[in-house]
Amino acid sequence: MKEKSKQKARPYSAHDEVNVRTLTINRDFEVVSANGKFQKTFGTWKDRKCFEVFGQSEAVCNRCKVAATFADGKTRSFVMQLRDKKGTDGYYRIFLTPHRDDEGVVTHVVGMSIDISEWERDIEQSRTLLDNVPCFITVIDKNFKILTANKLVRETFGRYRDLHCFESYKGRKTVCTNCPARLVFDDGQTHNSLQEGYDKEGNRVIYMVTVSPYTMKGDKVESVVEMALDVTKTFFLEKELRAVRDFQETVLHNATDGIIASDADDVITIYNPAAKEILQYPFESVIGKKKGEDLYPAEFIESLKKVSRPVIHREGKMQNYKGKEIPVLFSGTQLKKRNGTVVGKVIFFHDLRDIKRLEQEVLDAERLAAVGQTVAGLSHGIKNILMGLEGGVYVVNSGIKRNDNDLIHQGWNMIQNNIGKISAFTKEFLSFARGSTPQVKQTEPAAVANDVAALYRDVTRQSGIAFNTQFNEGVAAAPMDPEGMHTCLANLISNAIDACLMSDTGHPEIIFSLFEKKGIICYEIRDNGCGMDYDIKKKIFTNFFSTKGSGQGTGLGLLTTRKIVQEHGGTISFTSSPGEGSVFTIELSRHRLPVPQVEDKQS
C-alpha cells in the first residue's frame, strides 16, 4: 500500500459504516487524523498523542508497536487491550501500516482497529467450558501438532505446547499406527478409537477418543478436535470383572459336583455340566425353564430356609431325567443381599453312586473276611471238642488200666460233655448259617432292645447283677433284621453276665443302652465284670474263642454277633480293662442299613 497523501486521512464514508476505527499517527505519536467511528469510541483526538487518547499512560507505551513500525517499516497485526472514552477496557485487533514519503521514509503510521471484545469473551467462555469438561480435549493440525489443549490434558499429560499429540499422550516419536485423527484428515468423518497412553507420572491411561473435523480449508480438514474420555478405571474394573467371570465360568464348567443356582422366584439360572451329567436333563430344558424345587427334594429346600448359614453335606436323593433316583450329598446356601433380602439360592450336589458302590464293595469284602474268620473260629471250636473227646477217651482208658472207677466215671463225663458241646455247637452254627439271609424290615430299635432286656431280667436278678436299661424311645424305626439283632444283643448281654460272674466285684452291674448320634444307631452294653487283658483283647476280634469253662460257650457267640452286625453295614467295637469291665458297642449307620426285603405294611 503506497499512499502519497500525507494530509488528513481520506474520509472513507465506508469506514464510518463498518466497525473499523482508523487513525494516523505521526512520528511524535500525535494523532493527525481519525475517522468518525474512532472519535465515537475513543473521544476527541485532536492535538493529542495516541497514548493519551487510549488513556494507557502519559508517556510512550512500553514496547510501543507504533515506534517499532516507524523503526522497521513493517506492517503488524496484534491484539491489544484499549480503554475507550467511557473508561471501558476492550480487546481490539489492531493492524499497523507504515506510510512513507517519496524518499521512502516512514512519516506516518496508519492504524486500524476492530473491536473483538465479544469474540474474546466468547473465547474466554469457551475456554472455561473446555477446561471444565471432564474429558481430554485437544485441537491438532495436519502434522499432529497440538494447537490447544484443555485443563484436564494439561493436568494429566503435562506438556503439550509445540508437541505432537503422540508425544504428549504417549511419549511416542512417530504417529500411532491406529491413529484416528489421520482417518479424519483423510475422510472428514468422525472416528472413534480406544487408545492407551501414559500420564506425566508414567501411569497407564486408557481413553476412548472421538476425533472430528475442526477447521476446514475448502473441503480439506485443516485441524481436528480430539475428545477423549478417561476410561482407565472402568477399563481395569471391566478387566477384573471379566477375570472374575471367567474364573466363575471355569469353576462352574469344570466342577465335578453338580451346581444349580436359582433366582428369587426359584427359576434356575445356572445349571453346570456336572449337574447335567448327573441329572441328564438337557441344558435348554432347565435354564430359565425349570424351578429349583422341580429338581431337588422339598425337605432340602426347607432345611435351607430354616438356617441362615449354608447347609452342608446332607444325604438325599434326586430324580434324573429318566426318573431314576440318584443318591447325592447336598450342600447349599441361600443367596442374600446385604440387607438380608433373599435373591436366590445355590445348591451343590455330589453324585454318591460311585461311593455307594464302593461302600457295597467294602461291605462285601468285610462279609468275605467274616466268612474266613468264621471258618477259623469253627476249626478252633472243633479242635477244643476234639481235645475234650480224646482226653475223655484217654482218661477212661487210663481208669480201666488203673482199675479206677472214679477216673473212668470222670473220663466218661468228659466224653458226654463234649458230645453235648457238639450238639450246642451245631445249633449255634445253624443259627449262624441261617443269618446269611437276614429278614430285613422296618424295626423299632427300642423294641428289640426291650425284648432282649426282658429275657435277661430274671437271670440277672438271680445272679445278683444290677441290670439297668437306658433306651431312647425316640430312635426312629430303621430297616434291620429284628431276630438277628436280637441274637447279637442277647450274645453281648450273656457275655456281660458271664464277665460279671467271673469277677469278684462287690456290685456287679450291666448297663444296656440305646441311643442315636449323627444318624448312627448305637446299642451299648457296659459291664463292670472281669474285663479282658491285652492278650484276650488282641484276639477277640481276630480269632473268636471262648474263655469260658467246659460246657459253657462255643466261641461262636461273638462271631455270630459280628457277622450279623456286618450284614447290617454296622460295626462292633469294645473297650475293656482287666478287673474293671468292658463296653461293647454296636453301631449301625442309617445310610448303610440294608434295604428292607419284607415290606412292613403297618409301619
Binding site: K383, M387, S398, M414, M502, C530, D533, D535, N543, S550
Partner: protein, 134 residues
Amino acid sequence: MKKILIIDDEPDVVLYLKTILEDHNYETCVAHDADTGMNMALACSPDLIFLDIVMPKKSGASFYKEVKEHAVLKDIPVAVISGVGNAYGLKRSAFTDMVKDAHVEAPQGFFEKPLDVAALTAFLDEVLNKKREV
C-alpha cells in the same frame, strides 16, 4: 518223683493232663487261674509248669512273664498249651510278642490242642532228665 503244676481254666484239659502225667509217674498239682497258679508255684515248688494261654482275668502270657522275672521261680521250665495253635501262627516268637518283652526267654515247650501224648511224654523225659543230669 518230679512235680508238675498244671494251670488251665478248662477242667477237661486239667483232667486229661493230670491223668497223662500220673500215668507217667509224675506228681501233679492244679490251679484254675493264673493268680492261684502263682501261689501254687511258690507253695509246691514244681519241676515244670504246664500253662494255658487264654484264661479269664489274667492270661497265661502275663503269668509267664511274672514267673520268668521271679527270683525264685525263673528257672522252672514252662510248657505252653494252647488251642490258639498253629492256625493262628502262635510260634515261640509270637509268644514272646505276647509277653511284650524280647528279653524274656521263650517257653521250653509248645503244645497244641488236641494233645499229642507221645510228643508230650518225650518232652517231659528230655527236659526233666536233662535237668536231673545238670
